[in-house]
């Protein structure tokens, strides 16, 4: 276990280092001028331009600027956002809770509804299964921004059950505000998880040892838990892990559609403004989240299947 954690830690640091260089260089090479954002597209005097350039270290070559960023970051200073005129750490601290809550809420919907529908669908052939198949086919093909549209038009505009924008104040209000975004974000992943669960459970149900257990009169509940789900869990975990990891990236689209004050929408705005410090910090945060989710999935493999051992095959 310790070895697993050490390896994963080292891997995370290496990934972060490489990603930080790649992202910084990409931002540097991308066209655009942060001064344009500062001046609102107005011609400014050469003196004013020089002051802004110096204030934000815009004239230095790439390695110098990167080194400047890296040393500050290692000292806990993530820099200053040109676009919002606040410290990047403040910016992240204000926006991270919304994004985290949205991701957790969406993950719960994906796991509970996706796996639930998958199991029901696998065990109850007939009308229920057909209905689930049809629904998940539609959902799987539904991009989150289209889902957002449909949800807003029905539940916010027509029925007035949920708000159409903003992230709310206080837990209950936040949940109310985040329900439509979470459902929009969950749709396609939920369908994918449900389909994989259905297939895995079906496959496992047909296996010889399950049939034997049934013929021996082992209670159905026990068969489901011990023989079917246990073995079906590996592919389900894989696809759920992938779905959850991708949420971290997909969240920006939904945040924008619902005007949420989260990390994803900030990342998009910052990238448009060539706001280096913000792009760098949020991207790296996403890398960290991605690596952690994947590590958790690998850890679960080992729990679920004794043949997989931590620190070797999984890494």
């Amino acid at each position: 276990m310790r070895r697993f954690l050490l390896r994963r830690g080292a891997l995370l640091l290496a990934t972060l280092f490489i990603a930080s260089i790649a992202i910084y260089a990409a931002m540097y090479l991308a066209p655009g001028d942060p001064i344009a954002v500062l001046t609102g597209g107005r011609q400014v005097s050469p003196e004013a331009r020089a002051i802004l350039t110096e204030r934000y270290h815009l004239a230095d070559p790439l390695p110098v600027r990167y080194w400047y960023w890296l040393t500050s970051a290692l000292h806990g200073d993530l820099g200053y956002s040109i676009g919002t005129r606040e410290d990047v750490s403040t910016l992240i601290a204000q926006r991270a809770p919304t994004t985290m809550l949205l991701v957790v809420y969406t993950s719960l919907i994906i796991v509970v509804a996706g796996i639930g529908i998958g199991i029901l669908s696998a065990l109850k052939p007939g009308l229920l299964d057909t209905a689930a198949l049809l629904t998940t086919t539609v959902l799987a093909a539904l991009p989150s921004f289209v889902a957002a549209l449909a949800l807003i038009s029905v539940f916010a505009v027509k029925l007035h059950w949920f708000p159409a924008l903003g992230d709310g104040v206080g837990f209950a209000d936040q949940i109310k505000h985040l329900t439509l975004p979470a459902v929009a974000l969950a749709c396609s992943s939920l369908a994918l998880v449900a389909r994989i669960t259905r297939t895995s459970v079906r496959t496992e149900s047909a296996r010889e040892h399950v049939q034997t257990a049934i013929s021996r009169g082992v209670p159905a509940r026990q068969i489901l838990r011990k023989h079917i789900l246990r073995n079906a869990a590996i592919p389900i975990t894989t696809v759920t892990g992938l779905a959850l990891a991708s949420l971290i990236v997909l969240v920006s689209i939904v945040e924008q559609a619902f005007n949420l004050n989260g990390l994803g929408s900030s990342l998009v705005t910052a990238a448009q403004n060539k706001d280096f410090a913000v792009v760098q910090a949020i991207s790296l945060l996403m890398v960290v989240a991605f690596v952690i989710v994947n590590s958790v999935v690998d850890f679960l493999y080992a729990l679920l299947d004794p043949r997989v051992s931590l620190g070797t095959a999984a890494v």
């Binding site: 500062l38 001046t39 002051i51």
Partner: protein, 546 residues
């Protein structure tokens, strides 16, 4: 003056837009608004009947600063105007009245004396002093501030305290545009002690602000909302706020805004993106109010060395541009063709003279035959014309395609150069980005109600928006006469002359003058339906509907 509106639309522009019809341009021809109706649009909505607890006011994006020295675009101006007072006040009809300066007069053409109003206090209870005025103006002049208003105040050579309640501005030359500037962001007064204490953090979420306005800053979470609450000790009883708290919220996506207005989550906004105009008209619980605006849409020649260097080509293009279709497509028909180069909403003085000049000028005609003849005369047939555009900016892109059609119809070889929304702004700031592009379009406005404010910004050799290096001595002389004329009628006459020279020489080609669009929940009324919301605290009049 100047200012280029960059409505940077987020990447996910079309997310919720399908709901409202993404790029949902009205296709059927709307009825074009008549000139006489356009000139008579009201500058206020009906007065509020009573107070309301709170309102949520949308801005097209989150404000990035509430420092008046750095405020240059709709979101910042709307918020700063609600919080702060300027030395002079722009009335909804564009006229100038005393503001924090209860009296102002020119001793001599080069000396403006401002008498400060007695009994004015900042939110923290500190009285307004001449030192605060000197500090605020000096701050605008100081390049270290990184601000935008040093050029418009460039004739101020000294700012001195002239008694316990007086400030004297000594000028290097006569400047009767200065009172107008002092009624806009350049004339907003902040508290010296507070601003010095905050340094560069002044106007940020962390540093806050300290002004004298009818509202004070209550809470600002960047990216989420900026809340302002009533200032109970406000000096002007006529602007006592009717709405106790206003939450400003940035909503970048036009379709999200449309949805939020229909669910009542947004109480009102001044529209900067009209791409969902049709859908907004359909909202049952909100109403669109139209009024006088300061905006005009232009095609801007990027340089005068290419095909647009010939005035005959510029004229031909102007004759070939289908203004009616453009107005229908973008503004539901609520824009007029430019008989003069500047929106009638900018006539803050000498209205009769400007109205007469407008009526005497011909309505811009669509005349392809004459345009083709001009192109042949100029020997420009088949010459390339590259128009800069961005498909991510809906109005810009509609304009670019309309110009493309016009140019090709008269024999030019026109093409588009598409860049990302965030790179479109570089056409305005970076001479390198303009290379290889002949023209691009924008919506722009002046800071106070005088046509000269905008004309000077793109025709004066040092104008902030003069991208092509345009220089016309005759036009410069006319503007100089306007700037140095104490008498408003004389100033108007010189300004009209300058405008006629613009229309004859077309350094920029005006497309249309749109109306101002205020959309507000039907439960509310009282907000100004005029561009003065950008410079003075008129939003304080917002309150309960009848």
């Amino acid at each position: 003056m100047r200012i280029t509106t960059m409505k940077l639309v987020a990447l996910a522009t079309c997310t919720t837009a399908l709901l409202a019809g993404c790029g949902g341009r009205p296709e059927t021809a709307a009825t074009a608004i008549s000139d006489s109706k356009f000139l008579g649009l009201p500058s206020m909505t009906s007065a509020a009947a009573g107070p309301v607890d709170s309102a949520t006011w949308a801005l097209y994006r989150d404000p990035t600063t509430i420092d008046p020295a750095l405020a240059f675009d709709y979101p910042e101006n709307t918020v700063v105007s609600t919080l702060c007072d300027a030395l002079l006040r722009q009335q909804p009809d564009g006229s100038l009245t005393p503001g924090l300066a209860s009296e102002y007069h020119f001793d001599t053409p080069t000396s403006l004396v401002l008498k400060l109003r007695a009994g004015v206090r900042f939110w923290d209870g500190q009285p307004l002093t001449p030192a605060d005025v000197v500090f605020s103006l000096q701050r605008n002049l100081d390049t270290q501030t990184g601000g935008f208003y040093s050029t418009v105040l460039n004739r101020i050579s000294a700012i001195t305290v002239d008694g316990p309640d007086r400030v004297r501005l000594t000028l290097s030359g006569a400047d009767y545009w200065l009172p107008g500037e002092l009624s806009s962001m350049a004339g907003v007064i902040v508290e010296e002690r507070y601003a010095r204490g905050q340094g560069q953090r002044y106007g940020t979420p962390e540093g806050g602000a300290m002004c004298t306005g009818p509202y004070k800053l209550a809470e600002w979470t960047a990216g989420k909302s900026l809340k302002v609450a009533v200032n109970p000790d406000y000096w002007d009883p006529s602007l006592k706020p009717m709405t106790r708290q206003i939450d400003f919220r940035g909503v970048s996506n036009a379709a999200t805004l449309t949805t939020a207005l229909s669910t009542g989550e947004i109480s009102g906004t001044y529209l900067t993106d009209t791409s969902t105009f049709r859908e907004l008209e359909q909202i049952k619980n909100a109403q669109i109010h139209m009024g006088p605006s300061g905006e005009t849409e232009f095609l801007i020649p990027a340089n005068l060395t290419g095909v647009l260097g010939d005035v005959r080509v510029r004229k031909a293009l102007s004759l070939a541009f289908d203004r009616n279709s453009f107005s229908n497509a973008v503004y539901g028909g609520n824009a007029v063709g430019p008989r003069m180069s500047t929106n009638p909403g900018t006539w803050g003085y000498a209205k009769d003279a400007f109205t007469a000049a407008w009526n005497a000028a011909p309505e811009p005609a669509l005349d392809l035959e004459q345009a083709k003849q001009l192109i042949r005369d100029a020997g420009a047939a088949g010459k390339p014309l590259v128009i800069g555009t961005s498909t991510g900016l809906s109005t810009v892109n509609t304009a670019a395609n309309a110009w493309l059609e016009a140019a090709n119809a008269i024999g030019l070889n026109a093409s588009l150069r598409n860049v990302s929304p965030q790179n479109y702004i570089n056409f305005f700031t970076d001479a390198q980005a303009r290379e290889g592009v002949d023209a691009f379009s924008t919506t722009t406005y002046g800071d106070y109600a005088d046509p000269a404010a905008l004309i000077a910004s793109y025709t004066e050799p040092k104008g902030a928006q003069n991208y092509s290096g345009y220089d016309n001595p005759q036009l410069h002389a006319a503007l100089e006469r306007a700037r140095t004329a104490a008498d408003p009628e004389q100033r108007a006459a010189a300004t009209i002359e300058a405008d006629r020279l613009v229309m004859a020489d077309l350094p920029w080609i005006p497309m249309v003058h749109p109306a101002l669009f205020l959309i507000m929940d039907k439960k509310l009324t009282g907000a100004p339906s005029s561009f003065a919301y950008m410079q003075a605290p008129w939003l304080a009049k917002l309150g309960q509907g009848q």
